[in-house]
Symmetry: C2
Subunit: 539 residues, 2 copies
């Protein structure tokens, strides 16, 4: 952590305009722009940067009097939560599935801001220009072009207001921005408002037919093509993309000659070009984007087995049950994936639920399973059964260690309240910013900072992973995947014996929760479980 205005580890202060960043997306439809945008916003927000997506398509739909489209899989549910112990607010929109899992959708522009407030009910599918005819996007249609330009600039102004007047740190401008002319206008408008603001272009290009097919598969199951003839839909969509392609100018010489920062992603994570990146934030974003891969896999999170009162035996039982259950689930997942892939067709027929991943059957068999623990004994020991099995790759990480309580280490909260009432009070007032006194003492911001590399590593690998962590570490990791607000990070209820399964999907994550059944030495699924706030908020 640093205390400074431009800092790799800390937050960007409101007054430091030069450290703020406008991210301008570039790319044709069905190139995963929105996927990148949403994931990036979630990452930035988790890293304590106030960030928001500004989507031109949504604004245009309103401007042209059209209702924003709704992806059937993303249909918003009433936002009521399961009765929580106390009020819990979850930023990701949970959609319950017939199988008891919950799909948490990435937040959408104009829909939710980084503080979790609902802005508008307008929702979008996976692409900003989904719902308007190809004619509207024909570069020869001058009137439409003027409307497009005006709406784009209005959206950009909103973004700039957010950064300059409302305390935002990073604004993401989500549109195709596919011509040099448009990008010139954007740069000019930003510099007119504030010449010091950082500008970073991020372009997504897909060349790999498998990646393109996966993107189109998602699109064809979307609102515009639902219940329509798959072949005709595919042709129609391709015509739509062609309208853009005719005028498309990728990032390159123009930006390079004008010393503009850019990142060009080719086939999501396979190839990446970065140009004239300046500043720690742009560098960090590039490193994060580099780590992306579209490999289907599961991320499991749990805490160590019981170790209170030296209940070693109970801890061992938990480790054993965990090993058996995960091994069962791993096999089940593989069979399920193969089954779906074997039934796949393209374009997808009705009922085709092929996972939209550009990966083949063969790769699934070779998928490793990593088990990561902290360096602390209770976490290491919970992994002992995995350690004895060559089909698991067990590692122990220092950065997964529990939040270090400095000189209060080893004390219960009750003892701290009794013996160090001042510290107890300070912590209760602001758990996120509180730092434990004494050598090595940490706070949640330190844990968030040290887990940044861990999250990049999780994103980078294509293997399944089980993380056997501790309360604060699980909270912070869950906060990343579930897009918790910064206030909720410190209060999420992550009891011993809970096991969470997260499966990254192009539209967000699929989430399952299981509870340890000590009697049966197995895990029971908790259908439609949502993370809850812990009682009292002091733990």
């Amino acid at each position: 952590m640093t205390r400074s205005k431009v800092s790799p580890d800390g937050r960007i202060p409101d007054r430091d305009v030069a450290a703020k960043l406008v991210i301008v997306m570039v790319g044709l439809p069905a190139r995963g722009k929105s996927y990148i945008t949403k994931k990036l916003q979630r990452y930035l927000s988790w890293q304590q940067h106030r960030s928001r997506i500004f989507n031109v398509g949504n604004r245009r739909r309103i401007a042209t009097g059209r209702k924003a489209s709704v992806h059937p899989k993303l249909a918003p549910e009433p936002a009521h939560l399961d009765p929580p112990v106390e009020a819990a607010s979850i930023l990701l929109q949970g959609v319950r599935q017939a199988d008891g899992s919950t799909r948490y959708l990435e937040p959408t522009a104009l829909d939710l801001n980084e503080d979790g407030q609902k802005n508008q009910t307008a929702k979008e599918g996976m692409e900003d220009d989904n719902d308007q005819s190809a004619k509207f996007f024909d570069p020869k249609n001058e009137k439409a072009a003027a409307v497009r330009e005006q709406v784009a600039m209005e959206t950009l102004d909103e973004l700039l207001d957010y950064l300059l007047l409302e305390g935002g740190h990073v604004g993401i401008f989500d549109a195709t921005n596919s011509t040099i002319k448009r990008r010139q206008n954007i740069v000019q408008r930003i510099r007119e408002r504030e010449p010091k603001l950082g500008i970073l272009f991020i372009e997504s290009i897909c060349k790999d037919p498998q990646v393109l097919e996966a993107n189109m598969r998602l699109k064809l199951s979307g609102p515009d093509y639902r219940d329509k003839d798959p072949k005709k839909s595919l042709e129609d969509f391709k015509a739509r993309v062609a309208a853009y392609e005719s005028a498309y100018e990728p990032l390159g010489a123009y930006e390079e000659e004008n010393d503009l920062q850019y990142i060009q992603m080719i086939d999501v994570g396979k190839k990446l070009v970065q140009n004239r990146l300046k500043g720690f934030l742009s560098g960090g974003i590039s490193t994060y984007l580099t780590s992306f891969n579209l490999s289907p896999r599961q991320i499991w999170i749990t805490r160590h087995g019981q170790s209170v009162d030296n209940e070693l035996e109970r801890g061992h039982c938990y480790g054993q049950a965990l090993y058996s259950f995960i091994t069962y689930k791993r096999q089940e997942w593989l069979i399920d994936q193969k089954d779906k892939l074997s039934k796949a067709s393209f374009p997808p027929l009705p009922g085709d639920n092929t996972p939209p991943y550009p990966e083949s059957n063969g790769d699934l068999d070779e998928k490793n399973f990593c088990v990561w623990t902290s360096m602390l004994r209770r976490s290491v020991e919970t992994a002992e059964y995995f350690d004895a099995d060559d089909d698991y790759d067990v590692k122990h990480w220092e950065m997964l260690n529990e939040l270090n309580s400095g000189r209060l280490e080893g004390m219960t909260y009750a003892e701290i309240e009794r013996d160090h009432p001042e510290e107890f009070k300070k912590r209760a007032e602001d758990k996120l910013n509180y730092i434990y006194p004494g050598v090595g003492g940490e706070g949640y911001l330190q844990v968030i900072s040290r887990l940044r590399d861990m999250v990049r590593e999780i994103e980078r690998i294509t293997d399944h992973v089980l993380i056997i962590g501790h309360r604060s570490v699980c909270r912070v990791l869950m906060a990343y995947f579930m897009h918790l607000t910064r206030e909720d990070i410190t209060d999420m209820d992550v009891p011993l014996g809970m096991l969470y399964a997260i499966e990254p999907k192009p539209y967000g994550i699929e989430f399952h929760a299981y509870r340890y059944n000590e009697e049966q030495r197995w895990f029971d699924e908790l259908p439609n479980y949502r993370p809850q706030m812990v009682g009292g908020g002091l733990i």
Copy 2:
């Protein structure tokens, strides 16, 4: 830190072949390949990866019976050190300058291996193909081509022996490798020996005329063109490069189609392309290379002011003297640089000592000066005078904190020996691997690991920087810049009151040392100072 075979933070164990890496350099002469190679090897070695450069040019000079060339600035001195307190071994070759400074040269292939042993006296200039006529490199000269190919493959075999038989982790194959055919042969040979070995191509391309001029400036002051007519030399060198260019095939479609990892650097740090990077090591190398910049600047390192026995007053005096001295030196540096630039000509005339940097006068004036301290009071307070001056940008970093001694924190070495003789003994036996017991306890490997981001940040910025650190932190940072062996890191003498100035140069670093003169409240330069081993090795 992790304990595992493939680990982001730890070392690569000898047996883990799949985690080892062959780095294959690609690029025309005068594209800074050797600069990149040497810096990368120094970084990898500092990060505890056993790594070595294998240079084809040097081997060829021996094969063709020619003596390897010696750059006049790099002429090896007898390797005697200043009488040290105890024996000290420094990997960088120090060359004393008339002005009392010392030039430390990056280690060269065949010259020094990663353990600091001298291999051969052969030295090279900045480029492997410096000393042979353009005819030898003409692609139409078949006999020469056969010799070149044979020497290249022999060198590659040496590299593979190093990785597979001698416990090396990373071998860097330094040659132009400028055709697809050659690169195919390389890949084939590596896979024949061990299909699991990682292969990473790194290409350096220069398009910016200023970068090219800087590279050629260095070349023209080298052995082949010394005391020759500058204009003719430039023409001759350009003809030599043209011989390569005729057959040059940059990295691209071939490598992409064959799923080969590569990093392409364009104009050192301005633009970077990365393709299909796999594994943490390749990712880390890419992040490190991204941070490179050629901006001239100074890096200052010192410890905090006296704080023993609450000698606060002495600490304040040190902070004040440091501020005055640095401010003076900063001004002096600026005048000196401008003076050299104003006298510059290209091609360089005899006596032209223009620093070979592609930067103009204007940028020098805008150069910031960062002052970085730890979060500990004695470090923060030493920076107080800088903090009061708007011309300095002061930051406080947690990662600069002193090595955490866990539950032995605050004890003197004598007290540890008396009260914890077991710990004292363990530490004395292996200071590098020793970890202090108790919560938050660290060892040198942890400090090296947490300073990785700091070094990348130092490399990334173009500003001057003064680091006010602590003993272990200064040792580890100095070890990076001075290329200390891993054993020497923990024993380097960094007394309070010493101030080190490091100026990165294309051929290595320029190093100055100063000692605090308490009476005069100023600093005295120690001419030809070399880091020494601390007496007894226990501190």
